[in-house]
Symmetry: C2
Subunit: 362 residues, 2 copies
């Protein structure tokens, strides 16, 4: 098999880490970003300098704000933008796709692959592409200086699912030689609903908004920001998410199970497991509520969960409370901006029909 | 006119202040409380010692947990219990009423008089009583030691309304010689919906829950607890309350107008008016979320506003978000515990019918 060629779409923290990492591993990589501002320092430096768990300078073949150029010869398109940018990016990509290209959302949040599929459908894309989403971003990283990224860690195991799910094996086969960290993620219902950020991020932002704004985040986000009362809310948000997954025939991981799996943190209740998670120690709150924990996680995680719930008759009152309050706080109608069943192409469908799309395709 | 005889029902901070104050003014006063525990020190001391803006020892003729004894010879029954105790107290009172007695709720929160009326109706009370509610408690006070109350202030002007409203003048005539602070409050729709505590208390508790629990209230409740994001939520809660009042033909005071009226605090927005209110300086947050700002103000202020709104087709989504989250935090279904239109005897009524009851009676 000849060497894969990559396009990385998005030059934020994650996109830079991925492009730099691919470059360091010797792959051909082109880097696209919508705005030139982020690209200039990378272009000037002729690549991306990584430090941390990956050290070295990753060459980037082309740094461009022209998406056609970026993806023309690519075998794999790695989408590394906030999920709120997925719709725009999918529409930009649509005219430039080739048969056989693979597109991986890093990550999809909830319903990213569904939204891509719907945009492609509306744009009349007839090319056969492999479309999939990762459950989370591979990297824990931060863009420290222009053209430099610090990689704190690379996750050992990240579930990846194709849409439709029967292509997951093809997608993994393609990407495994490069990223052995990807493991089979069943299907995009599972990757989309095993979204633990959806449980923690918006609730913690909303229920600590005054403290974030009045101290500029000078407190421990998980330890001081989650008390018994807040944990009651988290438990309900989590239960609603798991119930929506169950209505789609998926046994989603609970937040408590995830704390045990990811951090070895145990406890009889979610609250206890959080208190017992030393991994949360020292993590400060965001300095402002104008943060992706609200502007990405509310419209692209909570809204799709609540919207699917509504379609299937599963009540999600607590999630709706958070969507409403977050919208008031950030003066944004997240129901209008968010990933509803209409945007995912799932409006009016039954559980069976949604599962059919997720697993078998059209 | 002969000297009025009083029964004060409730021996918390407010009830003790009122009983002591009446005693100091030379009125005959009997003090009732459901539990004996609060009464024993008062009985032992033979009265209530006041300090602050009222100084002296107010004799109490009878201190009792027998409500029949307390109210038997009373001309005026001053109800000074949390609104969550109104239904119980009304039911206890019902068998012991006499024609011509006056009952004043100090205060009613939202719909207190409606709830009393409904309980009396269900209990078959046929006596002609004067029923009314004050918009707020006359006293700022605190029970400092057994049998002692510190009175920080007595409000200059507290609206009082009778149910039905045409009796407001009779009620004021009765009480004015004793409490000239009471002023005509139109009707109980107005006193019930000019409920500014409903706007501030639950929202501040819910949106600062983690900080309250993790610091035991060690922060400035209004200054640090209300930031721009939280003020956006307060603005909406206030707008929903004012809209429900408008649907009943009442022009309710906005929270911003109230800050100007009560504190001379001005500002183009609610947020600015709060920042400019020196009266909020130094007020610490409650030390726990198990506080009447939630367990009284949610079921007895927010629930009736939302429930009346629902009956009249006025949406109150923000108020509902707060009711939902507060309920999760305190593990209580406030919709079940709260003062709905059913409990107020207003279920299924039109605007016109509710106004008719409030103004004209049956």
């Amino acid at each position: 098999m000849s060497q894969l060629r990559f396009a990385v779409l998005g030059a934020g923290h994650g996109g830079m880490a991925m492009a730099g990492h691919l470059g360091c591993m010797g792959y051909s990589v082109r880097l696209f970003n919508r705005s030139e501002a982020r690209l200039i320092p990378i272009r000037n430096a002729g690549g991306i300098e990584l430090s941390g768990v990956v050290e070295g300078k990753g060459p980037v073949e082309l740094v461009t704000s022209d998406i056609a150029e970026a993806v023309r010869d690519a075998d794999v398109l790695m989408v590394v933008v906030p999920a709120s940018g997925h719709r725009y990016l999918a529409a930009e990509l649509a005219p430039h796709l080739r048969d056989g290209q693979a597109i991986i959302l890093n990550p999809g949040r909830t319903g990213g692959a569904f939204e891509f599929r719907q945009v492609f459908k509306e744009a009349g894309v007839h090319q056969e592409v492999l479309l999939g989403e990762a459950q989370t971003l591979l990297y824990a990283c931060r863009n420290t200086n222009p053209g430099q990224v610090k990689v704190f860690g690379i996750k050992n195991s990240v579930p990846l699912a194709a849409l439709p799910g029967h292509q997951t094996v093809d997608l993994l086969e393609r990407i495994h030689p490069v990223f052995p960290q990807f493991v089979p993620g069943d299907n995009v219902i599972k990757t989309g609903l095993d979204n633990i950020g959806a449980v923690f991020h918006p609730a913690l932002m909303v229920l600590n908004a005054a403290r974030i704004e009045s101290t500029r985040g000078e407190f421990q986000f998980y330890f001081e920001g989650i008390t018994k009362a807040v944990a009651q809310v988290l438990e309900r948000v989590d239960a609603e998410r798991v119930a929506v997954a169950a209505a789609l025939g998926i046994r989603a991981m609970t937040a408590r199970e995830w704390l045990y799996m990811a951090y070895d943190a145990h406890g009889k209740t979610l609250y206890q497991a959080i208190r017992n998670n030393s991994g949360y120690k020292g993590i400060q709150a965001p300095a402002t509520i104008d943060h992706r924990y609200l502007w990405e996680d509310v419209p692209m995680s909570l809204v799709p969960i609540a919207s699917i719930g509504e379609t299937l008759g599963v009540a999600t009152p607590t999630i709706r409370h958070l969507i409403g309050l977050a919208g008031l706080m950030n003066e944004c109608d997240y129901w209008r901006e968010g990933r509803t069943v209409e945007r995912m192409g799932l409006a009016g469908l039954t559980q069976k029909q949604i599962r059919h799309i997720a697993l078998e395709g059209f």
